[in-house]
Symmetry: C2
Amino acid sequence: MIALPAPFTALTHSHDLHLLQPGQDDVAAWSIDQRKRWHGQPLAVLLPGDTAALAAAVALCAQHGLRMVVQGGNTGLVGGGVPDGSGQEVVISLRRMNRIRAVDPLNLCLIAEAGCTLAQVQEAAQAHGLLFPLSLASEGSCTIGGNLASNAGGTQVLRYGNARDLCLGLEAVSASGQVLHGLKTLRKDNSGYDLRQLLLGSEGTLAIISAASLKLFARPQRLHTALALCSDLDQACDLLMAARSRLGPLLTAFEVMNATARALVRRHFPAIRQPLDGPWAVLLEWEQHGMDDATGQAQNEALWQALLAGGQAQDVALAQSQAQAQQMWALRESISAAQGREGLNVKHDIALPISAIPAFCQGTDAALLARWPGVRGVNFGHLGDGNLHYNVQAPEGEDPAAFLATHEAAINRVVFDAVQAAGGTFSAEHGIGWLKKDELAQRGQPLQLDWMRRIKAALDPHNLLGRGRLLDV
Amino acid sequence: MIALPAPFTALTHSHDLHLLQPGQDDVAAWSIDQRKRWHGQPLAVLLPGDTAALAAAVALCAQHGLRMVVQGGNTGLVGGGVPDGSGQEVVISLRRMNRIRAVDPLNLCLIAEAGCTLAQVQEAAQAHGLLFPLSLASEGSCTIGGNLASNAGGTQVLRYGNARDLCLGLEAVSASGQVLHGLKTLRKDNSGYDLRQLLLGSEGTLAIISAASLKLFARPQRLHTALALCSDLDQACDLLMAARSRLGPLLTAFEVMNATARALVRRHFPAIRQPLDGPWAVLLEWEQHGMDDATGQAQNEALWQALLAGGQAQDVALAQSQAQAQQMWALRESISAAQGREGLNVKHDIALPISAIPAFCQGTDAALLARWPGVRGVNFGHLGDGNLHYNVQAPEGEDPAAFLATHEAAINRVVFDAVQAAGGTFSAEHGIGWLKKDELAQRGQPLQLDWMRRIKAALDPHNLLGRGRLLDV
């Protein structure tokens, strides 16, 4: 085991830098991810308070050949922010870099440091009557730097895009400790390769995002929420087509939930009202803009009359109040927790072309049931984005943990083979990290992987940032 | 002067590849850009008909160490697609690769080969009742491959983003002739570095885009167009804020034109109706979605009543017919032609934070007038995107060509220095190419340029693609 070089202590005197060391300090919070799936052991934890301290810390790590792993809110689902067990990786936590540096309402943007929580960014926008639309279950603790480094998705992608689409510029620190000053706030800028887009989604393996300029939006006047019932996924797709055609950019959410998913919520959260019952439920929401409330209400009723008359849904419940809308969202958002109470399950974060989804589900459901009779498909997600959480729960009565341990790899193979055949991805919004790097190595194209390795070597030639995550280099 | 190696002729027999050679064939159309600003001389012109032929041609060029320059519709404004004068560059024209490979209305996407004209892509979308929103003056002849390689902007960026934002996936050929198969059609995909975004806007210097999957959108039910008058740019910015707040994503165009720009149109195109006169005109357009036409009409009138009552505009003319809307757009789109008839001028394609624009214009107008008395600022553009065509015309009566030849460099320096000080860019939507590579070399950050060179060397190690364009390597 190597020891931390002495100059790091000196750096805490000259810069706004905190240093934690195992043995002297409790580093558990930085060694294990929030869901306790990965357990590591850092050489040290560095907590810079500003970009200068971050750059100096990285430069010193680089001089000493120390590997670094960047951590934000530690809420990632693929282990990318946790140190390995070698005791040789320095964790660089950006949580202390959490200032909103500027808000510019006329230019519809703000500049946030990487350690700001997503909720903090949302609140800074709201304080100016504006919207930062990225929205995730972990928004109270995840950081915007992590959201950008992993290109987070969430529930508003249909209308506002992924984290990648919400970023106008980046400040970042290179693997050798130099600062890239790219906090532009421009809607158009064609002056060279888009280094910003290269860093977004690179999971901390190319450089460390220290701050970002982010797009803001006008807040909707109000939301119209409805829970509709469809007889199958084909009808849900018809409903999506018809709703998009009528609502255009006003359509903000189109979530689907199969009967199994809703039955688990009924079992474990009986207080959540489920106004309709049937094979597939759709949570549809649209934003009102450019019209007064009475007009919005009338247009919403006309919309659903037309959709029902057109055979695009079997039935619908319209939220008549914010409380009713919240109940509809509670149903959607309780599925994961209900699954957790039911026991461990095989989770998949896949995306497909929307047009391939009905056949994919029919074929894959059948293939899984044929091989594992009684297995329960908990299928829900963002149909409007083609992103399904296609989860597989053990048959009723079987021990979930034993089932998972025995069958997870084989189930993954069935699902991912079908996803790949349909032109989809095995990682829609959670990234690669440790969890899926073998999957990427196996399913990625050789030329794609070759280019990724070349780019990694070009920007981090000593392979010090997030070594072994994402890419097997 | 080198000669074309013999194997190229053999390749035209084994592959769908046309070969043109100076001396034997007329290659003028591939040697000079459409605006006749750059004149070059190719070693040969290769016209592949499919990706296999393209890959084979590139591989052969690479084997022989031949430099390649990719050309689409040859409408670029910075010279990136024209061969140099050495007679040693092979032009690879993608015009024959012009098939729409697929349209998927449910997944809202289509796949087009790089040589499709932009108009052809728009028409393919329209044939399915959908919209491909990229829109440029040269759409009849520019190609989608060129649009993507240069990250084209245009008049719909406020609502739909740049070309970069409209692309879901790319097929591309590497500098050594390998094919990257990346024609995904997914809204969410976090499986590795985003190579697509790196190639978009790289102007043919990293790889050759051979096909793309593109986002489609629901067509608006109708457009509401208005021409408003503002007393100054501050009021125009107020109007933008108020319109965005009320219309949200329905706002599709917010164009400004100063009095000098409109006076040139009046002089050279007197038939174009100009219903209002005053310091600044704003062309505002919004899309109707989710409401019937009578409601849309009523909401438009209510919008403008509120904007006038709120002091956000002095006066407004609402288009009552499509013909009237077209007249308003004709005014906006005739400014460049009117400038051309008035004589040569110094053109700038700049973008700034919107909030910086009033002070930038006031300060730079004054600086230019102080140094060049009588000089005329023709200022117009996409205020909603912060993108101005801030052009400088010789004083009345002076010879425009002589003025340009004498003062262009000094005027550029005044303008670009002010742009840079305000956090803007000297190239908003036209790219770098030959024209602005010195500007980029001077104004780019050293670390940014270093990373760009490293990435260029990683993906094109022998520097065969577009050598000397964009980057001075």
